[in-house]
């Protein structure tokens, strides 16, 4: 990819790979995150999600491939001014007050001192820590530390925010707050790279997503592209002969569970046709349940296909 093309994207990687000794953490990651979109990065434990984020923010050094963040090669010092990052392993100086931690990050990011106060107050208010700003971080709960980390990531109106499991220590209220913060970031034109294994969370807020397994992207696109336009339908039926069941596979990807048959990838307007065909084959239909395929269903199916 040309540098000019990369500049129009928040993140672009081409065959990005990372190996730790003999262990392959990431084997050829190719993906793009557009500006001002919320991008979900999904995968099972050990898929290479955190490794990918660490490569993007310069914490780890790639063993192969290339990557650009906000148009600059990954690790570029000046570009880091425009990044916000919440690590999976979040920890801040316990001996400092929350306000001081934010001040330190303002200073390190090279922000003019005149802007610090407003930025710090804004970040504290956004993450709900205004009343604890003067307390030492060592007295914070894990959830409060994660809120503080989110506040750190928001400083300086970054163009790209990378959040690695941002709600892992939060209660339901905190998770809701984080979703709202992500929506606000998107509204002001910030791209959000959300690394998460909370599928419902990703489903609610992401514009596009990539699914990784064994260090490689196995699916990517918009939510509807990943889930597929066609849904699934479950039918409870008796009296079908094995050859009749096989013939029904033309209606979709068939999962045969005895009395229950699940047809995946079946357009909803073909359901009456399917029922007629079952009856024509001698089957007795007791129930027909259209199923909306969730991201979890699709995620598990993708991983299963990958293993096969």
């Amino acid at each position: 990819m040309e540098a000019a093309d990369a500049a129009s994207l928040a993140v672009h990687t081409q065959d990005l790979a990372k190996r730790y000794g003999k262990t392959v953490a990431l084997s050829g990651l190719t993906m793009s995150v557009r500006r001002a979109e919320v991008f979900g990065f999904l995968g099972p434990n050990g898929a290479g999600k955190t490794t990918a984020v660490k490569l993007l923010v310069g914490l780890a050094i790639p063993t192969a491939g290339e990557g650009w963040v906000l148009g600059a090669p990954i690790g570029d010092l000046q570009t880091r001014r425009r990044l916000g990052y919440l690590p999976e392993l979040f920890r801040y100086q316990g001996w400092m007050k929350a306000r001081e931690v934010l001040g330190l990050h303002c200073e390190l990011s090279g922000m003019p001192r005149s802007e610090w106060k407003a930025e710090i107050e804004s970040a504290l208010k956004t993450v709900g820590l205004s009343d604890r700003a003067g307390d030492r971080v060592e007295g914070f709960s894990k959830g409060m530390q994660q809120r503080l980390g989110l506040g750190v990531a928001l400083l300086g109106r970054p163009e790209l925010v990378l959040l690695d499991e941002p709600t892992s220590a939060l209660d339901p209220v905190g998770r809701h707050d984080v979703r709202e913060i992500i929506r606000q970031l998107k509204a002001r034109g910030t791209a959000v790279f959300l690394n998460s294994h909370l599928l419902s969370e990703v489903e609610q807020i992401c514009d596009r997503l990539a699914v990784v397994d064994h260090g490689r992207v196995i699916a990517n696109g918009t939510m509807s592209q990943i889930l597929g336009r066609d849904g699934a339908v479950r039918v409870r039926v008796t009296g079908l002969q094995p050859n009749s069941r096989a013939a029904l596979q033309t209606y979709g990807n068939l999962e045969d569970e005895g009395e229950w048959l699940t047809f995946r990838g079946l357009a909803q307007d073909r359901v009456p046709e399917l029922v007629s065909e079952i009856v024509r084959q001698g089957g007795r239909v007791y129930a027909v349940e259209p199923r909306h395929e969730t991201l979890e269903d699709r995620f598990l199916q993708l991983l299963k296909e990958q293993d096969q």
Binding site: K54, G58, P87, W95, H105, L108
Partner: protein, 282 residues
């Protein structure tokens, strides 16, 4: 450079907030008061001459300086060994390093902060101790400022070694290795003194090697020389083989070539630490 200073300030602030400076200050004042009281007893010994008081005070001053240099060396190791490693283990470094700061700036900021702490402690504790000794016995070593500079340099050398180890090893492992090097160098210094008195090339080479590899004992001997009054020095020189292996005696000031080696050693070590940290996956 400003980010180096930011990290240096942060390092000093952390030492202060964690009450390290307070604990050191209180303990040091207690030690200085006790040693000064001990020195004040010297002139009261029955039948003692002023020359004997001076001789005893000079030797005790070297012992007290050894104690402070030991505290400084061990203390700086304990503070430096976790400085990078524990930030990586805890995750603090993961939040800081994606900011527009080079790893070398973080490392050198930590080094500068710790070096300032070591220098400050050596200067303050040394000056207070010298004042205590002077008030108690009217004795002052010939060049206390030079001696304190060498004691501080010894602390900085060991701190730098622990910092290098901290870029790759856990705090415990790095700290233990640095201390082993420190004590091996000390034993190497004694071997060198024995080898010189008995003119044994093999023992001399072992001693010189250890002094080049880890310059802590060499710098300690640089400090000793400036704490020895000329008459005490002449007496020790006259003792010949009888002074063999005395770890609290230095016959000569450190040659300039050795000081140049120590500077080169320090620069090389810091370059290695930066290289090591820059290539570490976090």
């Amino acid at each position: 450079m400003s980010r180096v200073l930011t990290i240096a300030r942060l390092t000093i602030l952390e030492a202060s907030r964690r009450k390290l400076l307070l604990a050191l200050a209180v303990l040091t004042v207690v030690v200085i008061v006790l040693t000064s009281w001990g020195f004040s007893r010297l002139p009261t010994v029955k039948g003692v001459t002023p020359a004997e008081v001076r001789g005893a005070a000079s030797q005790l001053t070297i012992l007290v300086a050894f104690m402070f240099s030991g505290v400084l060396a061990l203390g700086s190791t304990l503070v430096a060994a976790p400085s990078i490693a524990s930030d990586i283990e805890s995750g603090i470094a993961l939040a800081i390093l994606p900011r527009p700061i080079r790893r070398s700036e973080l490392l050198m900021g930590k080094w500068l902060g710790l070096a300032l702490l070591v220098t400050l402690y050596a200067a303050l504790s040394g000056v207070l101790e010298m004042i205590g000794i002077w008030l108690a016995t009217s004795y002052l070593p010939p060049n206390p400022a030079a001696a304190l500079a060498f004691v501080a340099a010894e602390g900085i050398v060991l701190m730098s070694l622990a910092l290098l180890l901290s870029t790759r090893l856990s705090p415990m492992t790095g700290g233990v290795i640095a201390l082993v090097f420190f004590f091996v160098a000390w034993i190497g210094g004694i071997a060198l003194a024995i080898g010189q008195v008995f003119a044994n090339d093999t023992i001399i080479n072992i001693g010189v090697g250890s002094r080049l590899l880890i310059p802590t004992d060499g710098l300690w001997h640089g400090a000793i020389f400036y704490l020895e009054p000329s008459d005490v020095l002449a007496l020790a020189r006259a003792a010949g083989r009888a002074r063999a292996g005395n770890p609290f005696f230095a016959d000569q000031p450190l040659p300039l070539t050795y000081l140049a080696w120590v500077v080169a050693w320090l620069v090389g070590l810091l370059a290695l630490a930066n290289w090591s940290f820059a290539r570490r996956d976090l």
